[in-house]
Amino acid sequence: MRNLLNITDLSTGEIDELIALAEDIIAHPETYQDVCRRKKLATLFFEPSTRTRLSFEAAMLDLGGSVLGFSEAQSSSAAKGETVGDTVRVVCGYADIIAMRHPKEGAPFAAVQVASKPVINAGDGGHNHPTQTLTDLLTIHRERGAFRDFTIGFCGDLKFGRTVHSLVSALARYTGIRFVFISPEELRLPRYIVDNTLKRNNLPYIETTSLESAIPDLDVLYMTRVQRERFFNEADYIRLKDTYILDCDKLERAKPDLCILHPLPRVNEIAVEVDEDPRAKYFEQAANGKFIRMALIMKLLELSV
């Protein structure tokens, strides 16, 4: 039985297969509409989410399956003090596959120790968010055609931004990709990712605090939100939240085929005026999330058409 806790649980070959399957689902959705008939997905969301939860639910419904679950810890037995392990063990009696989001890092690892059904990590605190990464990879693949020969910039909260951590780990396994990390000093990429992923693989990367100076070289720009919920200290959040705002002025210096991504939700780090720019791909990215999750559910349930 397979789980997905971290994007590196999947080989690059498996990621290629998932992307190919998602592309086929996009092209021929009717072929897949009954693949998961009589199967149930449990969405255990101990932390609020819009896109991830709804895209998982839409994915299962479009595969002909059913969905059950909860969307916040307060409406589950976690509010009564139940452990993650006990909740998951119980839910395994009701569902065929579990998508789980939890504010604590490593909660999905605790879940798979006792789960008898596949578990998908739908985000665990500031740690990992592999299905967002699959969504990002599908979008980059659709825009660039392949995972090689481009420069990708990550901008904003690179310290707590789990989407950034997972995407860097995934792209580090391909060759010919250059990395630019744009963040305030306090929100730099964690050193363990720099040491274990970038330096160990001799990947070309630079770290900077200036979006303006970095933007002309980028082929992909991955913007992130500074997340209030990751700070213990509100004053630090207020001080750092408006460090980077992407607007049309800054984009004048960017390449004409730049691909702008954002895991959403955005607050103000991308000005609304940018939405009309053809280089803005973040809403397509959100839509792609449903298709790659359809592919993932099929893979983990070992189903095919």
Partner: protein, 139 residues
Amino acid sequence: MKIDSIQNGIVLDHIKAGRSMEIYKLLGLDRLDCSVAIIKNARSTQMGKKDIIKIADRIDLNLDVLGFVDPGITVDIIEDGKLVQKKHVQLPEKLVNVLKCKNPRCITSSEPHLRSMFVLTDREKRVYSCAYCDTRYHR
């Protein structure tokens, strides 16, 4: 200084000087009823000085703990006053219920009944990472 040799038990030898109390705590030797001798800064031709622990009973030892604290330790098994077996320890691939994750955001901090688990992620630098949250622990 003279410490009586043991008839049946275990001698942990070649402990890096100063590490014996850490081993004493991690192995829970304070909970034993038998005699336990800790010899600090014993003279050693190989190491200059070293620590030694003598345990006057054949207890089950967690060799992973010893390998984690100091992979140079040797474990001598004594029977009827004679050395019957000498074991060498090594840096373990996995540590279960030895370390506690210090990351306040880790699930093990809010659910302390969970088994703590660390995996060796950099043998050269002796770095272990929490299996739950990847927080690194330098030995």
